[in-house]
């Protein structure tokens, strides 16, 4: 990014973005904030940085987006560089402050708009920009080719099929009930996640499919502020779902992928109604339904006996509405459940959301400082296992585990379900002579 800091600022372009967003909402928000300070106490950055007023959400939008409007877009590179630190380095757009604002000001939306302004001038974290290049070239954040993706799926079908008879990973099956969409890290670096999902779908006897294109559910372009690209990414998925005529899109255990696919994506893609063309379901909901309806049964002798706590991912719980489903699902799997405080929609961000982890090492130190609150929350539960149905929470809590010596193990629901579910005889592989 450093070389772009030399280029002149395109204030015309900035004004264009500001004008396009200058609707009733932002106008109202900018004028009604009374600096009451309630948002400050809700923000984990503020709480972990000595209650420095510069970390209060109101200060963050006041010194960035509000200032852009006040100066009618006539800002310089120094100003954009200062914004960069605040909007990417001091806010994960977790939206907790919006809940505590007595006027309901959606500060995260304003921070996102400020990100769009900065991104338009090339001011964006390198780690996110690298994923944008990949999204543009291949449709997924890791630049994986279609051949490589399909090869990984068929390999996982083969390797996991040795453990579960009848397991298949269907590709592009028309009219399936669910099109299961992923985070590119799964086929690229954690292919076992695909194998585990296939096991769960097989035992639940689900009518599901993966898709040869449009399988990428993540949308880091959303966090980079590149709304046009974010729209393209999510459109790839929507259009594939429509082409295949599937009934639902199911999203892997990723938080921001759900936020993108279910809530923000339709707007990025330019769908006036604000609804995705096909219903979007998160894994937490889907897996809960399998257990609730008895399609998957858990072996009581295999249930987790160590103390367990549940990390409410911001984009699954507060922004996705699934906090009770997460708990009910956990109750099927764990005997000793301990709540973090606060919890459910009030839970704090893991400290690694909003693109913080893919933004790279440049931001690691801050991520560990702001994550201290989450580390304290986890430690206070006495839990030995943290369930995190979001890759980002998962990685951040693993990092916090090392940084703060929490002594916990982080698990996804997939991992626990695969270890604890009763596999009906018909799916059990027949012991062959060669396995003696």
């Amino acid at each position: 990014m450093n070389d772009v800091l030399e280029k002149p600022v395109d204030t015309h372009k900035i004004r264009e973005i500001l004008n396009a967003n200058d609707g009733a909402r932002i106008k109202t928000w900018l004028s009604i904030c009374s600096r009451c300070g309630l948002c400050a106490e809700s923000c984990f950055f503020y709480l972990t940085n000595n209650r420095d007023p510069r970390f209060s959400p109101a200060y963050k939008f006041k010194s960035t987006l509000a200032e852009m409007y006040r100066r009618k877009g006539n800002v310089d590179r120094d100003f954009l560089r200062k914004c960069y630190d605040i909007i990417w380095g001091e806010c994960t757009t977790c939206r907790r402050c919006s809940m505590y604002c007595p006027f309901g000001i959606d500060i995260a939306t304003m921070i996102s708009t400020a990100r769009t302004v900065c991104q338009s001038q090339g001011v964006v974290p390198d780690g996110l920009e690298r994923t944008s290049v990949n999204y543009r070239e291949t449709g997924n954040q890791m630049g994986m080719s279609t051949d490589d993706f399909l090869d990984t799926c068929s390999w996982m079908e083969e390797e996991t099929g040795e453990e579960l008879t009848g397991l298949t990973i269907p590709i592009d099956k028309k009219g399936a009930k669910y099109m299961y969409c992923l985070n590119a890290r799964e086929p690229m670096y954690y292919p076992q996640d695909i194998g585990m999902a296939a096991k769960i779908f097989t035992v639940a006897e689900e009518d599901w499919t993966m898709s040869s294109t449009g399988w990428e559910a993540t949308n880091l372009a959303m966090y980079a502020g590149d709304r046009a690209l974010a729209g393209q990414v999510v459109k790839n998925m929507y259009e594939k779902a429509v082409e295949l005529g599937v009934q639902n899109i199911a999203i892997t255990e990723c938080g921001h992928a759900f936020r993108s696919a279910a809530f923000e994506g339709p707007y990025f893609a330019g769908y006036a109604g604000g609804k995705p063309p096909v219903a979007v379901v998160h894994s937490v909901q889907l897996f809960y339904e399998y257990l609730r309806d008895g399609r998957i049964k858990i072996d009581p002798d295999k249930m987790l006996t160590e103390p367990v706590t549940y990390q409410d991912p911001c984009n699954v719980s507060r922004n996705g509405g699934l906090w009770e489903e997460g708990r009910k699902l956990t109750a099927f799997l764990a005997k000793d459940f301990r709540e973090m405080t606060p919890n459910r929609e009030h839970n704090h961000c893991c400290g690694g959301g909003g693109g913080f982890i893919p933004m790279g090492p440049e931001f690691k130190k801050r991520r560990m400082i702001s994550g201290r609150l989450k580390a304290d929350q986890i430690r206070a539960t006495g839990a030995k296992i943290v369930i995190a149905p979001c890759h980002n929470c998962y990685d951040q809590i693993n990092d916090l585990n090392k940084e703060y010596n929490l002594g916990v193990k982080v698990l996804s629901f997939k991992e626990i379900i695969c270890e604890t579910m009763i596999v009906p005889d018909k799916f059990k592989p027949v012991e062959g002579d060669d396995e003696e």
Binding site: G127, R130, T131, N134, Q141, M142, G143, M144, D148, D151, T152, W155, E159, N183, A184, R185, P187, M188, Y189, Y190, P191, Q192, T218, L220, C254, I357, P358, G360, P361, E362, K364, K365, H391, N392, D395
Partner: protein, 105 residues
């Protein structure tokens, strides 16, 4: 960025614990990080994975997907996890001196 000294060698290490430049890699680095990656003793199999990762990185400038790693080494996924408990994406790449992969990892 911090500098690590180990057995007479010096490494610039980023905040995620990856060496900042592949050129700085040498076998002492693997010795240095193995304990934090949960490995007690290095075997030929570990070195085979490390060398495959490095050959691929020299040719393509990125880490290979796990599928390629299993194809070239002939190891099953579970075995790679036995070798590298923190996984092929992070643990093995870190040991091989590759940069942390791009994206949500």
């Amino acid at each position: 960025m911090a500098t690590v000294e180990f057995k007479g060698k010096s490494f610039d290490v980023d905040e995620d614990g990856f060496i900042s430049s592949f050129d700085q890699w040498n076998p002492e680095w693997v010795e240095y990080v193995k304990a934090s990656e949960g490995i007690s003793e290095l075997t030929e199999e570990h070195w085979k994975v490390i060398h495959v990762l490095q050959d691929y990185y020299r040719k393509h400038g990125i880490a290979p997907m796990v599928r390629i790693l299993t194809k070239v080494t002939g190891y099953k996924l579970k075995y790679i996890y036995e070798l590298f408990p923190s996984g092929p994406g992070k643990g093995a790449c870190k040991m091989a001196g590759l940069p942390k992969p791009t994206g949500c990892v």
